[in-house]
Amino acid sequence: MPSFESSLPDLQTSGPILQVFIGPSRELIVAYGTEAVASPIPVSALVDTGAAATVITAETAALLGLRSVGAVSIHTPTTIDPVLCRQFHVNVHFSPVFAVENIVVIEAPLTGQFFQCLIGRDVLSRGVLTYDGARNRFSITF
């Protein structure tokens, strides 16, 4: 089973952050071929068990040339009414040889943050997340 472990100097302060690559979905690649779609791009991602779904920014979607495949309303602690967000179909690459494929992610601004992606429970539903706060490390195993 592929496992991805990260150690950070202060996990409590930084949160569980790792680098992943966001790329066009397997379905888009199959439809058009790897030459016709953008290569995956690196993003810093926060593993967020409070996120119902994975989130990318509009900038990431634009860089990949993605077009929306849906729209969904979301609630956050700062919203009173649900907010409608676009959805995109992507692969989340954890390494050159392993990706969680065909994920429908949400577009939202991650304003003022030093990460460009939230890894949500849609991705986590496919694996095991281990958070070892005492040792400042975490891992995701698929």
Partner: protein, 83 residues
């Protein structure tokens, strides 16, 4: 309902909502693929609907949405999202 700045599926969402009752009668729980003000098809899975969209419409905006009586918003408990 407030939206992020660049929602580009207003026509498709309007079509879906206007036809929700008849879709519910025929395809509750399945996934509708809508482009413009036309229903392209009904599919058993979200991935199947998206695949059909890419194959027949191209890499253009389209709406894939589960046919349900109500839309339940997804929840995000962190303050990270700037919406």
């Amino acid at each position: 309902m407030p939206t992020t700045p660049a929602i580009d599926l207003e026509t498709e969402l309007r079509y879906f909502n206007e036809h929700r009752s008849e879709l519910l009668r025929e395809a509750s729980g399945r996934f509708a693929l809508v482009k413009g003000d036309a229903l392209i098809g009904i599919f058993s899975s979200e991935t199947e609907a998206i695949r059909h969209g890419y194959q027949t419409l191209g890499n253009v905006p389209f709406l894939v949405k589960q046919v349900a009586e109500v839309d339940i918003p997804l929840s995000f408990t962190a303050f990270n999202l700037g919406v």
